[in-house]
């Protein structure tokens, strides 16, 4: 018997769990600029996450999906994507959305149960969060198809969790991306848990990156807690796509340091030791250690940045809390480009009920 195909999946990492360089670093990582920027954004993301959870616990926010543990992935993608590219995110990418220009108050609005959080002009052509699992992967291939048809040097970037790779949508997206050589980058934030289901029983394959092989696209695994590895992998994938060479699947190894959402309790199904071990590898501390070692960051800067971050977040929270209620007719006015005649009566009823004397007047 002859071997007709053989493939390998590579794992990329530059920083050890303790924050030491494991190998020679790429040129850009030998100076502080980019890494310090990454660090600052990751701190901001983490503090934002803490604040949103506190708001939820005090009844000022809806059910919320924490981003804890995915700071490095979002920081890199948000930094390297061009304005012109299109992000097709899932529901754990608010740090990435923030880096794409979305105001904190918009992010808070979305999680606070207000559609206007999706409406900012800052989002340009980016998609809103995909809550139904893996559906966004196919939308990204559609966006990429449009780029390709028009001959644009733009890239669609989509993120999903490890659980999403079990869905047909994800595999169908990889397949069409391979068949048509689409300018798309698929990033799997493999945080090891799909609510209560661990990666080990989600899929029998050794890596999720190898799903790329079946679709005929590039696939690699990368340490998602390591910004340098993440940067290298994602930059290559973007370049590859932009040059018309096709799609890449990046499996970024991370860990969901939080519950699935604020309505979840991971202690029911996850061993405390495992979580403790994961905290040893977490991305923010790792990069901080590295920056300290390099002398690119110190306690004074840390304190100053923490203070600034708190102010930035508080300003966003204040703006969010001060937002007036949206007009009730918004519930119906954006359904179609033009309001169909048949909906006029219902629209009037909505308004009437919300007005003084109506049964929903507040």
């Amino acid at each position: 018997m002859e071997t007709v195909y053989q493939a390998q999946i590579h794992y990329r990492s530059y920083l050890s769990e303790e924050g030491h360089a494991l190998t020679e670093l790429p040129a850009w990582a030998q100076s502080p600029d980019t890494l310090v920027r990454y660090y600052r954004n990751m701190v901001l993301a983490r503090q934002l996450d803490n604040k949103i959870i506190a708001l939820q616990r005090t009844g000022q926010m809806g059910t919320y999906a924490s981003l804890l543990g995915s700071e490095a992935i979002d920081a890199v993608i948000g930094d390297l994507m061009l304005d012109d590219d299109v992000l097709v995110p899932y529901y754990r990418n608010h740090a990435l959305q923030m880096l794409r220009g979305l105001a904190l108050s918009d992010i808070l609005s979305y999680w606070g149960g207000d559609e206007r959080g999706n409406s900012s002009v800052k989002m340009a052509q980016d998609f809103p969060n995909a809550v139904p699992i893996a559906t966004q992967a196919l939308h990204a291939t559609g966006v990429a198809t449009a780029f390709k048809i028009r001959g644009e040097k733009r890239v669609a970037v989509t993120i999903c969790g490890d659980g999403a790779t079990s869905k047909g949508d994800f595999l169908e997206a990889l397949n069409v991306a391979g068949a048509w050589q689409l300018p798309v980058v698929f990033v799997v934030n493999n945080n090891q848990w799909a609510i209560s289901v661990p990666r080990s029983i989600q899929c029998g394959a050794q890596t999720l990156a190898q799903k790329a092989i079946g679709a005929g696209i590039r696939g690699e695994q990368v340490d998602g807690n390591d910004v340098i590895a993440m940067h290298e992998a994602f930059e290559e994938a973007l370049k590859h796509a932009r040059e018309g060479k096709g799609a890449t699947l990046i499996e970024a190894m991370s860990y969901r340091l939080s519950d699935h959402t604020t309505a979840d309790d991971a202690t029911r199904y996850r061993a405390n030791e495992e979580l403790k071990a994961a905290w040893e590898k977490e991305p923010v501390k790792r990069l901080q250690t590295f920056l300290h070692q390099q002398g690119w960051w110190n306690e004074v800067q840390e304190q100053a940045w923490q203070n600034e971050v708190n102010q930035i977040i508080q300003a966003g929270v204040d703006e969010y809390l001060a937002m007036p209620q949206q007009p009730v007719e918004d519930l119906i006015d954006y359904l179609y480009a033009e309001l169909p005649k048949a909906l006029q009566e219902q629209r009037q009823r909505l308004i009437r009920n919300a007005q003084p004397g109506g049964n929903r007047h507040e």
Partner: protein, 371 residues
């Protein structure tokens, strides 16, 4: 805020149990400082402070259950506000209720309304025809446009029918029922009262005579149950007296006429009549009659076939007193005569019993005086 109330910590969770307070009353806390650990049906959650402040009061101790929306903490020196719950979620976690239901339809669904198409219903509304009383001539008793138009024509020609109300409506029902149920026989006789002492009260004489009749023949002072085919003879005589009013027929009941003196009865009757006319008579005074008297003779009429209303078995009618020629000891002379009509329910009494009753009544009425 003054009171920090337990927010909905999951998705529709109604309550949480306090596991541990991390602060005490009097402590100063800062925003996001962990206040308390609670356990919900889904998770153990640490709740941070929504604001800076001093804790005035903790609601509940470890092990206590707090419901969503209930106060958890009181902050010192704060004005109360509407709380922190965004779009409050109602919860009746404490309420336990029984669950009653019928599988399928409720028993009462057998009752059906008059059937007609909406167009016919609209026609009836426009023509102001009350469809409640219409009998449908259509398929399955359905009311047709013709039925409605016919009713409308009748209304135009004869005026609108006036629906009966109150006592008049009750009378109509009772009489129809009585007519449907009882087997009435009417017996007529004249009484020669020519020799009455001046000033005899006709009504009182009739009441007295009924009492005498009942004593002679208890079968007339009875209730009859047509379903069970059982009769009940009464020892007390409770006489229903028909009173005509513009609102309709009332039959107030004079109690125990066999054992009361005449003045007392007279007073009672006057009071009842007054109450009837003033419409102040309580329903209890209209119930419990064992035999009935109808003195239509105060208006007009000689004989009648009065209707006996079950469960009573007899009603005595008295016509107009008049002078008429009578044969007395072989000579025709003019005498004052009171015509009587007795209707009895032949299911409950024999002709003989009725005849003996009216014989005793006549004998009593024939007396010159009872005072």
């Amino acid at each position: 805020m003054k009171y920090f109330k337990l927010p909905d910590l999951g998705e529709g969770l109604p309550e949480a149990e306090i596991l541990e307070w991390h602060i005490s009353e009097g402590d100063t806390v800062t925003t996001d400082q962990v206040l308390v650990s609670v356990e919900t049906a889904k998770a153990i959650i640490e709740i941070p402070s929504p604001q800076d402040g001093t804790i005035a009061h903790l609601f509940g101790a470890a092990g206590d259950t707090i419901h969503t929306g209930e106060p958890l903490i009181e902050f010192a020196g704060e004005e109360d506000d509407s709380g922190t719950v965004v779009g409050e979620l109602k919860s009746d976690a404490q309420s336990t209720s029984e669950d009653h239901f019928f599988i399928g339809a409720a028993p009462s669904t057998a009752a059906h309304q008059a059937q007609m198409t909406p167009a016919v219903r609209a026609l009836a509304n426009r023509l102001e025809v009350d469809t409640g009383g219409l009998k449908g001539s259509g398929r399955n008793g359905q009311i047709t446009p013709d039925d409605v138009e016919r009713a409308a024509r009748a209304d135009r020609t004869h005026g609108k029918a006036e629906p009966l109300r109150g006592v008049r409506k009750q009378m109509a029902k009772n009489m129809a029922l009585a007519h449907a149920e009882a087997v009435p026989v009417t017996l007529c006789e004249d009484v020669d009262i020519h020799d009455w002492t001046e000033g005899e009260d006709i009504t009182m004489r009739l009441i007295h005579a009924v009492a005498a009749g009942c004593k002679a023949e208890p079968a007339m002072n009875a209730w009859f149950d047509g379903q069970q085919l059982a009769r009940r003879l009464h020892s007390k005589i409770n006489l229903g007296v028909a009173v005509d009013t513009d609102k309709g027929l009332f039959v107030p009941v004079i109690r125990d006429i066999g054992n009361r003196d005449l003045d007392d009865i007279r007073d009672g009757l006057d009071r009842l009549r007054e109450d009837v006319i003033n419409r102040t008579i309580p329903p209890s005074e209209l119930q419990g009659g064992t035999i009935t008297l109808s003195n239509f003779g105060t208006i007009a009429g000689r004989y009648a076939s009065p209707i006996v209303v079950p469960p009573t078995v007899a009603i005595l009618g008295a016509g107009v007193i008049r002078e008429q020629p009578m044969a007395v000891a072989g000579e025709v002379v003019a005498r004052r005569v009171l015509p009587l009509s007795l209707t009895f329910d032949h299911r409950a009494a024999t002709g003989g019993e009725a005849a003996r009753f009216i014989r005793a009544v006549i004998d009593d009425l024939a007396k010159k005086s009872i005072s």
